[in-house]
């Protein structure tokens, strides 16, 4: 009798677990993953739990099996790959969307475009006042994401030419907080995924050819590859659990799922 009950319990929990997919990782991917999970549930396909913590946490959780999918805003690092190899886990990588990073300033700021070199100067602390860029006499206040986030690393590599941020930059735990702070601070500058853009801040056009031409950060410009600061968003999963997670990933990559990508403000990978 008891054996039967135990058996039934294990079976039922087994079924419940099969229905529930766990996704964990990058805070950048969260708003998107959350909306996808919401629609996935609404479509009656099953439930997906979404947990933050960051890209590193997601990949670590993938390693010890406490999540089914790791969401990451950066490519898996060398040592993470090596560890997974050691653990004998084969990993699959899927790019579910692209994210364009835009540089934002306070709406009252007169500056509306900057070159990559100027951005580098600002974020590494070489340029300290807006008047050096033809703006008002106002100290520049630099907001950044936390140093460990994928967004930070991408910005560092692709905008700062791998140089380190200045000591004095303010680190915000999440992108939403950057938007909030930049909208409240007159001399502020920050960078965000364009999904986070709203009217309380002003997006700058960016030039990657020493000022010959400036490109506005829009989904269109990112899709036709004229806007330069674009990065992929990844999902990672273990090949052996492909059966469980595939329906959800297929859902994201379907036209319906990619429509959500677009409406959330990210750039679809399938046109």
């Amino acid at each position: 009798m008891i054996k039967k009950i135990i058996l039934m319990l294990t079976l039922s929990t087994g079924i419940l677990q099969a229905q529930n997919i766990k996704l964990k990782g990058s805070d950048t991917v969260l708003p998107l993953a959350q909306k996808e999970a919401e629609s996935y549930k609404k479509a009656g396909k099953g439930s997906v739990s979404v947990t933050g913590g960051g890209s590193g946490v997601g990949i670590a959780a993938l390693m010890d099996g406490s999540t089914d999918i790791a969401a990451s805003s950066r490519k898996m690092k060398m040592d993470e790959k090596m560890k997974l190899q050691e653990a004998g886990k084969k990993i699959k990588e899927v790019i579910i969307a692209q994210d364009a990073l835009s540089v934002i300033v306070h709406p009252a700021n007169k500056i509306s475009k900057l070159t990559r070199e100027q951005l580098e100067g600002i974020f590494t602390g070489k340029i300290k006042n807006w008047k050096e860029l033809g703006g008002e006499n106002l100290n520049i206040v630099v907001y950044s994401r936390e140093s460990s986030s994928g967004t930070y690393e991408f910005f560092k590599e692709h905008v700062l030419n791998k140089k380190n941020f200045a000591n004095s930059v303010l680190s915000m735990p999440a992108t939403g907080a950057i938007v909030q702070s930049v909208s409240q601070t007159k001399g502020a500058i920050g960078y965000i995924g364009i999904a986070y853009d709203n009217n309380s801040v002003k997006q700058l056009s960016v030039s990657y050819n020493q000022g010959k031409s400036y490109v506005e950060p829009t989904v269109q410009n990112a899709m036709n590859s004229t806007y330069p600061i674009v990065r992929p968003l990844y999902l990672y999963y273990v090949v052996s659990s492909e059966k469980t997670v595939k329906p959800f990933i297929d859902f994201i990559l379907s036209s319906g799922g990619q429509a959500i990508v677009k409406s959330t403000g990210y750039i679809p990978v399938k046109k």
């Binding site: 590193g56 670590a60 060398m78 040592d79 936390e146 140093s147 791998k162 380190n164 941020f165 000591n167």
Partner: protein
């Protein structure tokens, strides 16, 4: 049988009283085993080594120099005791950009040849090479690097835990930030708390006092995220306006919020201390014709001094460890500054903000545990000290 059962029950009681001790021990074991292994490692990205051209006389590099080289602040070897020779940076990506996939091989098996080719072509090269590709085909000097030391951890002025190729683990600005915010908090909270304690204990009626107690309890009960949220929406913009600052996220904002959070501790403990002053002391003072205020000032406060000190110290302890509220309002810039109107980064906020993104078990992860060890040691010594003075009194 009955006796055995009774002994068993007492045994269970005795064991539960040991749970706190066991927990403290476990905390120590887990924190320190993870935190101390940080000091066994080198601050370089795992799986990589740094090498220079074989003719380069440099054999050793320290993290600060390395960062400045890769930030292109140092652009010539002569600045770091080498020959005059412009520095060329080489990362894995540069190899990828300069050589075709065919040249590197499908499984990167010819990567070493590519590296070697690149290095031999430029005497000023400093290269970041994957360890497993650093074969004897590469003719280059591997640079030596010191392990993380406690001294460099505590004194280092730069906190760039993800800098490449060598991370900067300088916790000094974080320590300064933590102390600055806590000190500010206590300077704000002590006068307020003490006044409130004197008011409740000595001045007001029993009835009003019975209304004040729940107020203090409620202040203690409000969750720290709610304080943080309040600080974010109200205090931060207010500070920016009042002081005409560039930014409102400052140490001061943290101090104000933490000060409010430390108030209940200070009020409760100093009120207790005042209440514990023997009645005879007060009466003696009154008999000598002292006014109530004179009695408070010259008899009560000196008598309750150790209790008030305890209150202040425990208040600091509370402030030092507070995480969420501080994370939300202090701006988290790893500045070394004593200016209370500048953004700072505290230890707890650093842990909460970075742990999520740090690869589990990696060096960054461990550095955060090392920070937690520091935090634990600080609060532990505060408790031991308080225990010590309260025992000395008793």
């Amino acid at each position: 049988m009955n006796k055995l059962f009774k002994n068993l029950q007492v045994g269970i009681l005795a064991f539960s009283s040991l749970v706190t001790t066991i927990t403290v021990l476990l905390i120590v074991i887990f924190l320190f085993s993870e935190g101390l292994s940080f000091f066994n490692k080198k601050p370089i990205e795992p799986g990589f080594i740094i090498a220079v051209h074989p003719d380069n006389p440099i054999t050793f590099i320290n993290p600060t120099e390395c960062k400045r080289i890769f930030d292109q602040d140092i652009t010539d070897w002569k600045e770091v005791t080498g020959h005059a020779q412009p520095i060329t940076l080489v990362t894995l990506e540069d190899i990828g950009n300069n050589y075709s996939e065919e040249q590197m091989g499908a499984e990167m098996e010819y990567l070493d040849t590519c590296y070697n080719h690149f290095i031999q072509g430029d005497k000023g090269v400093i290269a970041m090479i994957p360890e497993r590709n650093f074969t004897n085909k590469i003719k280059a000097n591997k640079l030596k690097l010191d392990k993380n030391s406690i001294a460099s951890f505590v004194q280092g002025k730069e906190w760039f835990p993800t800098a490449k190729p060598i991370a900067q683990f300088g916790a000094f600005p974080l320590l300064v930030g933590t102390f600055l915010v806590s000190l500010g908090a206590i300077l704000l909270a002590l006068p307020l708390g003490l006044a409130c304690a004197i008011f409740m204990s000595e001045i007001t009626s029993v009835r009003i006092r019975s209304y004040m107690k729940p107020v203090v309890e409620l202040l203690a009960g409000i969750p720290s995220v709610v304080y943080g949220f309040f600080g974010l929406v109200i205090i931060v913009p207010l500070i920016q306006k009042v002081f005409h600052l560039d930014v409102g996220e400052t140490a001061l904002a943290g101090s104000i919020i933490l000060g409010i959070m430390a108030l209940p501790t200070i009020i409760t403990i100093s009120e207790d201390a005042l209440q514990n002053v023997p009645k005879s002391m007060r009466e003696a003072a009154y008999a000598l014709g002292a006014t109530k205020w004179q009695t408070i000032l010259t008899v009560l406060i000196p008598y309750a001094r150790s209790g008030i000190t305890t209150a202040a110290i425990l208040g600091i302890g509370r402030a030092i460890g507070e995480t969420m509220a501080v994370l939300m309002v202090t701006g988290n810039a790893a500045n070394t500054t004593l200016n209370i109107l500048k953004p700072v980064r505290t230890i707890p906020a650093t842990i909460a903000a970075e742990l999520g993104e740090a690869p589990n078990g990696g060096i960054h992860f461990q550095s955060l545990f090392a920070l937690a060890c520091i935090l634990f040691l600080i609060t532990m010594s505060i408790n031991l000290y308080v225990n010590f003075i309260s025992r000395k009194k008793a």
